[in-house]
Each structure stands twice: as C-alpha cells, then as structure tokens.
C-alpha cells in the first residue's frame, strides 16, 4: 500500500511525522509525507496548486491550546457562536479541497476538552464558556464528517479521555518547543492515524476468534458444569457478561464472531443454549469450532471456512501459551495480550481499537448469517449428483443492472473489503464512486444474488470505461461469498451487452497481481479472452450482414 499524506498543523509535528512513517511502514503502508508550513492550514486547503491539494490524505491537526488563544481574543458577545465559526472555517476549507479532488480524504483532528478552570462545572450552563464551545465544535465537526463521505475525524478528544491528558500532553514540551503530543503518546496517535488511512485503503480486521473457558465465561465448563461457570451475578461473572455485550456489539457491526475452543462440542455449546445469563447465542457466531486439536490447526480450518485473510483476524484467549502458539504460527493475526485480571480486559480492548471501521452499511449486521447458510448449502451439495444439479437446487437468482445512488455505499465497501477477486485492486473512494453516477464515459455494472438460503445483496461490481473502440474493464470485484456460483459468466454476458450498447468492438481487461488476488488470475482466460501485451482482449462478433438494418 502507498499513500501521499499531507500534515497540516498549528503546532510542531516533526515527531509525529517521523513516527507516522515508522508506524505506517510497520503496517505495510508506504507513506509519502508532506509537512505543510506551520499554521498555514487554510491556504493549503484552498489553493488548488498547494501540495496538500495533491495528496491522497490530508490530516489537519489543530491544538486546543491554540484554540483557547483564539477564543480569548473573541469578543464576549460573539463567543456563543465561536464553535460554529471555527467549524465553518475548517470544514469549508476541507470540503473545498474534497470538491476539487474526489479521491482525496481529509482527516480532521477534533479538540480535547481542556478544563479551563474559569467556570468549573458551571461551564455547562454557560454557552459562551470555552468548555461549552469546544464540545459544540467537536459535535459540529462530527456532523460535517457524517455528511461528507470523504471527510473523517481523528478522535483526538476521545484519546485524551481514554488515556488522560497527563499522558497525552507534556506541558514542558508545549512551552519550550510547541509540541502538543507527548513523546509517550506520539506512537499511539500515529498508530490511530495509520489505522484510519490503511482502513480507507482496504485493510481491516473482519473477524474475532474467541476462546470460551475463562475467556467468554469464568471457569471451565467441562470441570465446573453449567451452573458453576461465572457469568452474570456469579462471582466475577460481571467481567465476562460485559465482555460478551461488547463482543455482541462487534458482531452487530459486522465483525464475524467465531468460537475456537478446546472442548467437547456439545458441552461447549450448552451454555449458549441453556444458561440464562449468557448474552451471546449460537446464532451470533459465523462458525463454532470446539475440539481437541491444536488451535493453529483449527484457525486454518476457520480461515478456509470464512475465506478471509489471516491478517484480518483477531484472536482472543486468556491463556498465554495458546496466544503464543497462534502468534508464532500466524504473525499476521492480531493477538492482544490480555491483562491478568479479567476486570481489566474490556477497558484494555476498548482502548486498543482493534476494529477501526472504514465503512458501515446496514447489511453488515447480517454478515454472519451467510456462513450459517453456507453450512446448509453444504448439505445440498453433498446430496446433489452434479455441480449443475447443485446450482439448480440452490435456486440461484442473479440480477445485474447499472449503478444507482442507493447502491453507492455498498459498492464502495465492496471496493474496500474485497482482496481476492479484485482484478486491478483500484480502491475508489465513496465520493469517486458517486461521481460515476453521471459519468457518461463509464458504465458500472452491479450484481445482486439470492438463493433459497440467503439474499447475498450486492456481491459483484464491474467498472467499465469507454476507450475509443474498446470497453476497458477498469476493475472487476466479486465478494468471496459468491465464488463458484456461475456469477462470472453472468457478469461477462452483461459486459458484452454493455459493450454492444456502446458500439464497442472489443472488451479489454487487465489482471494486476497482488499478494491476495491469485484466485482471480484465470478469469479472463476462462471467459475466452485472448492474452497479449499483459492485456486480455475479447473481440465482439460483428453483427452478420443479414441482420443489419437496411
């Protein structure tokens, strides 16, 4: 991954910038970093020839310290409108840049609440107080980001709340050198920025693999029995109940939940079915693996079942030995080293921000159902005499049509998340996808799929660009959930129809290999494209003379 990042700040950011490069490199992201001139945020945003205007990502960092100065010079009569004025200036500049460059993303840092000791708690009752205005400002920025698909917030205020201002800032460095982030907190802030950027470039954790005994409940189900495991009001059960609530929320956000436990399967499932205080239920999980095999072996099975990369998995286990075994076998799986006391787990996991989201659509909530439907399909597959019969029994329906405005968030998400069937791995931003709605030089084909077990929703999209006599497949993406269902053929037929409509003579495609997309390598050859000069070409049959209009 590669990205140009412009850093615009009103404080000294050399350390943050160095740390950003280091953290990004460790995450496989090559950052081309530009530090804007000190305090020149607006000119960089507004000038079309500025270097920030050329960046893929712009990070705007304004300090609460600087904000307080500005507030102090604001006449008392105007202070009630201070937040609106600051937010306006900032978001107008950011939106102007985004309007010029549909593919850019602007990340605005919000403002930690500096308790100013002027009104104290009473500040909440005084609209013109600094505290009131900072909170208002942060809320205004949130609203802006919600309405601007390529506008994001770095929640610096939340980091201050979580880690404490004494940790986040070092007054001696602010006073002597103009640095607002303490040396200890700099790697943390850099890490969070990198999460936002690499998330937008398609990297995300998608799956949480959980141990059971002493992880999702206290005690060992096989030894202690159903009535003695700690959950709910029993012993320190609250720690596990709260963890389960949190895990269930992750599931509802679209993170795939998986059980991986050394247990008898029936015994391991019993609490989910029968314990009254259990919060998670079997239906919350995309897969449930309980046996006595080594965990790395089971994780390999889980990977094959869910068909997602190891680098998108998080492994949760109370047992340091199990964690080590998984870390050694799969260095790309994230394995949080849980603190000793279960009471500390949830605060620790929350602060670790392991699942930074890069998009959210309501369909995410249903994601795990696919894997449950998949096991039902499996039984159809084994009973069908042939693959063709299997497809028939599935009662598969594929519907392909042009992109419309309602599809944009899901299509964007598909671009972000799909790594395997992704022919050129072009990651469009949401705004860029939106501009294609009115782009006459492009056709975007979107496929929905449904079978008797599940409505898959949108599972494939092809971006076709008109180039003189050819229709170029700028990218073609298919969700791995739709593999092996004959979808490629249907999409190809739709491409041919689009090409004919455009009176193109051929369809040209390209496959750009990445570490993950080997599965899509052979698709053009299978569909009958001819290979030459790294491109794949499919010549359309000329319409025979006798059918031509006279």
């Amino acid at each position: 991954m590669k990205a140009k990042l412009a850093l615009l700040a009103d404080s000294a950011i050399q350390f943050l910038s160095r740390e950003l490069k280091k953290t990004a490199a460790a995450a496989g992201l090559e950052l081309d970093l530009y530090e804007g001139p000190f305090g020149q945020i607006q000119p960089e945003l507004l000038d079309p020839t500025s270097r920030a205007s050329d960046a893929d990502f712009v990070l705007i960092l304004q300090s609460s310290e600087g904000l307080f100065r500005r507030y102090c010079s604001c006449p008392a009569a105007q202070r009630a409108g201070f937040a609106a004025e600051v937010a306006n200036g900032l978001t107008k500049g950011a939106s102007a840049l985004l309007e010029r460059k549909a593919d850019a993303r602007v990340i605005v840092s919000n403002f930690p609440e500096l308790p100013d000791g002027i009104f104290g708690h009473y500040a909440n009752k005084v609209e013109e107080s600094f505290l009131y205005q900072v909170r208002q400002l942060n809320l205004n920025l949130t609203h802006w980001s919600r309405g601007e698909s390529n506008g994001f917030i770095l929640d610096f205020a939340a980091l201050h709340t979580c880690y404490g201002s004494r940790y986040m800032a070092r007054p001696a460095l602010w006073i002597s050198s103009g640095i607002v982030i303490s040396p200890d907190a700099t790697p943390l802030v850099a890490g969070e920025v990198v999460k936002i950027i690499s998330g937008q470039l398609g990297r995300a954790n998608k799956c949480l693999i959980c141990d059971l005994d002493n992880t999702l409940w206290g005690g060992v189900i096989g030894d202690d029995g159903l009535e003695n495991i700690k959950i709910g009001d029993l012993g320190i059960g609250r720690a596990f109940s709260e963890l389960q609530l949190w895990v269930r929320e992750l599931g509802r956000r679209g993170i795939l939940l998986v059980v991986c436990s050394k247990n008898e399967e029936a015994l391991a499932k019993e609490p989910f079915d029968r314990h009254p205080d259990m919060i998670l239920r079997l239906s919350d999980f995309a897969a449930f693996v309980a046996n006595w095999h080594p965990k790395p072996e089971n994780i390999r099975r889980i990977q094959a079942l869910l068909d997602i990369g190891y680098d998108s998995m998080v492994f949760l286990d109370d047992e340091p030995a199990e964690r080590l075994a998984v870390k050694m076998e799969f260095p790309m799986i994230q394995v949080p080293d849980l603190p000793k006391d279960p009471a500390d787990w949830l605060p620790f996991l929350r602060a670790a921000n392991l699942f930074e989201a890069s998009s959210f659509t309501p369909g995410d909530r249903e994601r795990h159902r696919h894997y449950q439907a998949e096991s039902q399909r499996e039984s159809v597959r084994t009973s069908a005499a042939s693959y063709a019969e299997y497809l028939e029994k599935l009662d598969l329906r594929i519907e392909i049509g042009p992109l419309d405005a309602l599809m944009v968030p899901r299509v964007f998400q598909l671009c972000q998340r799909s790594n395997q069937f992704n022919l050129r791995t072009v990651r469009y931003s949401e705004a860029a996808v939106r501009t294609m709605l009115d782009d006459a030089s492009r056709s975007v084909l979107v496929a929905r799929m449904q079978d008797r077990f599940e409505d898959y929703g949108i599972i494939s999209v092809a971006f076709l660009a008109r180039q003189s006599e050819a229709l170029f497949v700028e990218n073609w993406i298919t969700s791995c959930r739709a593999f092996g269902r004959g979808l490629e053929k249907a999409m190809f037929e739709a491409m041919i129809a689009a090409a004919k409509r455009d009176q193109a003579k051929r369809i040209v495609g390209e496959y750009i290999p990445t570490a993950k997309n080997a599965v899509s390598k052979g698709v053009f050859s299978k569909l009958g494209f001819q290979h030459a000069d790294n491109l794949w070409t499919y010549e359309l049959q000329p319409v025979p003379n006798e059918y031509r209009a006279a």
Binding site: Q14, F15, P171, A172, L173, I175, S176, S177
Partner: protein, 97 residues
C-alpha cells in the same frame, strides 16, 4: 544531618565531579544511540560541535536522557541547555533531590 554518610557529604564537590563524569559517559551513550553513531561528550559539547544535534533532535536527546536517568526536565531547561555539561549538571542535581 547525614551522619552515616558524613564522609561523602563532607566533600560534596568531589563526589559530584565523579558522579558528573559517570553521567556524562552515560549521556554519551544516550546521544550515540539517538544520533546513530558512537560519540564521547565533553562538558562543552554543544549543538554547534556535535553533528546531528539540532533543534529537532535536541528534544529527542533530552527525552531519551529523561528515560535513561528517570528524571524530567523543566521547560526552562529544555529551552535553555547550552551544552552537554549543563545537561549532566541538571541530571546530577535531580538525582540528588
């Protein structure tokens, strides 16, 4: 008042010289580590004479020194240190506190 260590406290200047030299040696190691090359600091080593010691690495060097000795410099010190001797002197007095 320090009766048990009366021998040492009766000669504080000598003690601090020894300690100062040790601190300067340890500080040299910190500088070598941050700047990526081996060096030996003297009392009068400063930003002009030590290659790589500029306003940016100044902060980095001081933060690394704080970690090494378990001390915290004040804003005045961070802003005002003119040479390695002054840094070592400040560390020595903080360690005595």
């Amino acid at each position: 008042m320090l009766t048990t260590s009366g021998h040492m406290s009766s000669n504080p200047s000598q003690m601090s010289t020894v300690q100062r030299e040790e601190i300067l040696a340890a500080l040299s190691a910190v500088f070598s580590n941050v700047l990526g090359r081996s060096m030996v600091l003297k009392d009068d080593s400063n930003a002009a004479s030590v290659e790589g010691w500029d306003s940016l690495s100044h902060i980095e060097l001081l933060v690394a020194a704080e970690k090494r000795f378990g001390v915290a410099f004040t804003s005045e010190e961070i802003h005002g240190f003119a040479n390695a001797g002054e840094i070592a002197q400040a560390i020595a007095s903080k360690l005595r506190e």
